[in-house]
C-alpha cells in the first residue's frame, strides 16, 4: 500500500461527482428521505432490514460494475457466482456444525461460519479465473468485434451450464442453514437483531471497503482502474492485460460468492438461487450507470430502499414489476444512469 495518498479521498470524489450530476444529489437526498420514512412508518426493524439488503446488493453490483467497466462484459452469470458461494458455504459449514454438535468448542463455533465464507470467496476466485481463461480468453484471442453482445451471450451460456450443472449434480433441493450462531438476537427497544443479519452487513461493508482500498491505493488496483480507462495506455506502461482481466473476473466472482455465502441464512442454496440477486444487481448498475463502481456502492442502498418501499406500498409480489417502471423513467431522464457511465467501447453497438 502507498504511504502517501495519491488521489482525492472517497468523499471528495463523491462530492466532485455530485457537483457534475445534480440528478445524483436529488436521488441520494430522496433515498435518505425514504429511509427516514421507512423508519417512521414501517418501523426500525424494516429500516435495518433495508440497510442490510442494501449492503448485499452493493456487494453484488460492485462486481458486476467492475467486470463491465474493466472487461466490457455484461455479466449474466453473476448470480450463479452467488449460487456457487452459497453451496460452498453450505458444504463447508454443515460438517463443522455436525462436528460441533458432538464436540462443543466455543472458539470453533464462533469462527466456523467465517471458514465457510472464506472458503466460498476462495472457490469463487478460482472459479472466476477458470471461467475467464476457459471462455473469454479464447474469444478475445479470436475476435473483439461485437464483443459486448458476444460476451453477454457467452455469460448466458455459462449461466445455463452452472445452473443446470448444479441441478444435475446436487439436485433441486434447498440446502440452507437457518442460523450460523446459536446466540439469541440482540434486542434494542422493539428491534430484534439476529447475529446473522449483523454479520452479513459487516461482511458486505468490510468487503466493499477492502476492495475500495485495494482499487485506489495499491499498485495492482491502480492497474485495474488503468485498464478500465485506457487499455492501450495500460499496455504502454507495462501492464499485462490478460493478467488484469483474469484477476478482475476472479475478484468479481469472489465477491458474489462471498455475498452468497453470507446470506445463506436468508437464501438457502439451490440451483436458481442466483436469479434474484442477479436481477437486483443489474437493476443497480442500470440505475446508476453501467460500469460505474462508486455508483454501484451507493446504488445498492438506493435499490434496497426502493425494494422496501415497493413491498410496503404494493406488496412483495410487485417486487419484479416496479423496477421496470423505475428503470424506464431513469433511462428516459438520464440515459447514462444517475451517476453516469463512462465506459470505453460501449458505443460499439
Amino acid at each position: 500500500m502507498e504511504a502517501t495518498r495519491v488521489q482525492p479521498s472517497f468523499l471528495e470524489r463523491v462530492m466532485l461527482n455530485m457537483r457534475a450530476r445534480p440528478a445524483a444529489w436529488i436521488v441520494i437526498a430522496m433515498t435518505l428521505g425514504f429511509l427516514v420514512i421507512i423508519g417512521i412508518f414501517a418501523g426500525p426493524s424494516q429500516l435495518i432490514n433495508t440497510i442490510v439488503t442494501g449492503g448485499m446488493w452493493a456487494l453484488m453490483a460492485v462486481g458486476l460494475a467492475l467486470v463491465f467497466g474493466v472487461m466490457n462484459i455484461p455479466h449474466f452469470a453473476h448470480g450463479d457466482s452467488f449460487m456457487i458461494g452459497a453451496y460452498v458455504a453450505y458444504f463447508v459449514f454443515t460438517p463443522i456444525q455436525a462436528y460441533l454438535r458432538d464436540n462443543p468448542n466455543p472458539f470453533l463455533s464462533a469462527v466456523g461460519p467465517l471458514i465457510g465464507w472464506i472458503a466460498a470467496a476462495l472457490v469463487g476466485f478460482v472459479a472466476g479465473a477458470v471461467m475467464e481463461k476457459l471462455v473469454f480468453y479464447p474469444l478475445r484471442m479470436r475476435t473483439r468485434r461485437g464483443w459486448v453482445m458476444n460476451t453477454f451471450l457467452l455469460t448466458v451460456g455459462i449461466s445455463f451450464v452452472l445452473v443446470y450443472g448444479a441441478n444435475l449434480i446436487l439436485g433441486p433441493n434447498f440446502r440452507g442453514v437457518p442460523n450460523y450462531w446459536n446466540v439469541p438476537p440482540i434486542v434494542i427497544g422493539s428491534v430484534r437483531l439476529t447475529m446473522e443479519r449483523i454479520a452479513a452487513f459487516v461482511v458486505a461493508i468490510v468487503a466493499i471497503v477492502a476492495f475500495w482500498i485495494f482499487l485506489s491505493n495499491t499498485r495492482t488496483g491502480r492497474a485495474i482502474r488503468a485498464v478500465a480507462q485506457d487499455e492501450m495506455g495500460a499496455e504502454m506502461v507495462g501492464i499485462n492485460l490478460n493478467f488484469i482481466y483474469t484477476l478482475t473476473f476472479a475478484l468479481a466472482t469472489a465477491m458474489a460468492a462471498l455475498a452468497g455465502a453470507s446470506l445463506l441464512f436468508m437464501f438457502p442454496a439451490y440451483p436458481t438461487v442466483g436469479l434474484k440477486p442477479l436481477y437486483f444487481a443489474w437493476y443497480v448498475v442500470m440505475l446508476v450507470g453501467l460500469g460505474n463502481v462508486q455508483g454501484a456502492i451507493v446504488g445498492g442502498f438506493i435499490v434496497a430502499v426502493l425494494q422496501t418501499l415497493t413491498q410496503q406500498f404494493f406488496g412483495v409480489s410487485y417486487e419484479d414489476v416496479v423496477p421496470v417502471v423505475v428503470m424506464i423513467l431513469v433511462l428516459l431522464l438520464v440515459p447514462n444512469g444517475i451517476f453516469g457511465s463512462e465506459v470505453k467501447g460501449i458505443q460499439e453497438q
Binding site: A3, P8, R222, A226, Q229, D230, M232
Partner: protein, 237 residues
C-alpha cells in the same frame, strides 16, 4: 557494439493493407533521432510496430541485441522502451500523480518510484502544481507533458514519441520541444516522429524521411536540413 535499437527490413500493416515496406532504421545509445514524413507515410505505424502494438509480417526488430519482433507490447515496455502515442492514452479519470505512478508500474522499488517522480516534476514543474488534478481536465499541452512524463517514469532506455506537436498552439509546442531537448541533455535516447520538419531537424542529431511506407532519406539532421528534396517537399521553400 550493436546499436540500442535496430529495425531491419520490416513489413507491417493493418489487415489487408500493408503500410510499411522494408523499413530499416537504427538508434544508437544517447542519440536523438527523428522520423519525418507527410501524413500517412507510415511513421506512426513504424513506432507502433517497434512498441509491439503491431506485429511485423517480415523482418526483425532488435533491442539491445535481443529480438522483440514477437514480444507482446507490455513486455517491450518492461524491457525499457517507453512509447508516447499520438493519442496519449492517458488515464483520464485519474490524478496526474496516479498517472505518473502508473508510468512506473514496472518499478517495484518505492524509493526509485519517488525519485523518478521528483525527476519528472523537476522537468515539468507545471505537473507538480497540478499533481491532484484529474488528467482528463487538463489542457492539451499539459496532457502532452503528462504523457511524456509518464513515459519517463520507468526510466526507459529508449523513448518513442509520436507527434508531440499535434494539435497544440505554437507556444505550447515550443515548451514541449524544449522539454524533449532537456531530456536529451539528461542522456535519454529518443526516437521522435514529427510532421513539423524545420523545428524537429533543429533539435535532433539524425533523421530518417519516410514516404509512402518506405525510408527514402537518412542522414544527420544538419545535412537533411540542407537537402534539396526535404526543403522542397517539407519546408515549403
Amino acid at each position: 557494439m550493436a546499436a540500442l535499437l535496430e529495425v531491419e527490413h520490416i513489413n507491417a500493416g493493418y489487415g489487408f493493407l500493408q503500410v510499411l515496406w522494408d523499413v530499416s532504421l537504427k538508434v544508437e545509445k544517447g542519440e536523438f533521432v527523428c522520423l519525418l514524413g507527410a501524413n500517412g507515410a507510415g511513421k506512426t505505424t513504424t513506432l507502433r510496430t517497434i512498441a509491439g502494438f503491431l506485429k511485423p509480417t517480415a523482418g526483425d526488430i532488435r533491442f539491445e541485441g535481443q529480438s522483440i519482433a514477437k514480444t507482446p507490447a507490455y513486455q517491450i515496455s518492461q524491457m525499457g522502451i517507453s512509447f508516447v502515442s499520438e493519442s496519449l492514452n492517458l488515464f483520464t479519470n485519474m490524478s496526474v500523480r496516479e498517472n505518473l505512478l502508473l508510468g512506473a508500474y514496472r518499478v517495484l522499488d518505492k524509493k526509485k518510484q519517488l525519485q523518478a517522480l521528483d525527476f519528472v516534476y523537476s522537468l515539468f514543474p507545471r505537473l507538480k502544481e497540478r499533481e491532484r488534478q484529474l488528467a482528463g481536465t487538463m489542457s492539451g499541452g499539459e496532457r502532452k507533458m503528462l504523457a511524456i512524463a509518464r513515459g519517463m517514469m520507468s526510466m526507459p532506455k529508449l523513448l518513442l514519441v509520436d507527434e508531440p506537436s499535434l494539435g497544440l498552439a505554437p507556444q505550447v509546442v515550443v515548451t514541449v520541444f524544449e522539454a524533449l531537448q532537456t531530456l536529451r541533455k539528461e542522456g535519454v535516447t529518443i526516437l521522435l516522429v514529427e510532421q513539423n520538419v524545420p523545428s524537429t531537424l533543429r533539435i535532433t542529431d539524425r533523421g530518417y524521411v519516410m514516404e509512402q511506407g518506405k525510408i527514402v532519406l537518412e542522414g544527420p539532421s544538419k545535412e537533411l536540413m540542407n537537402n534539396e528534396h526535404v526543403r522542397v517537399a517539407y519546408m515549403g521553400i
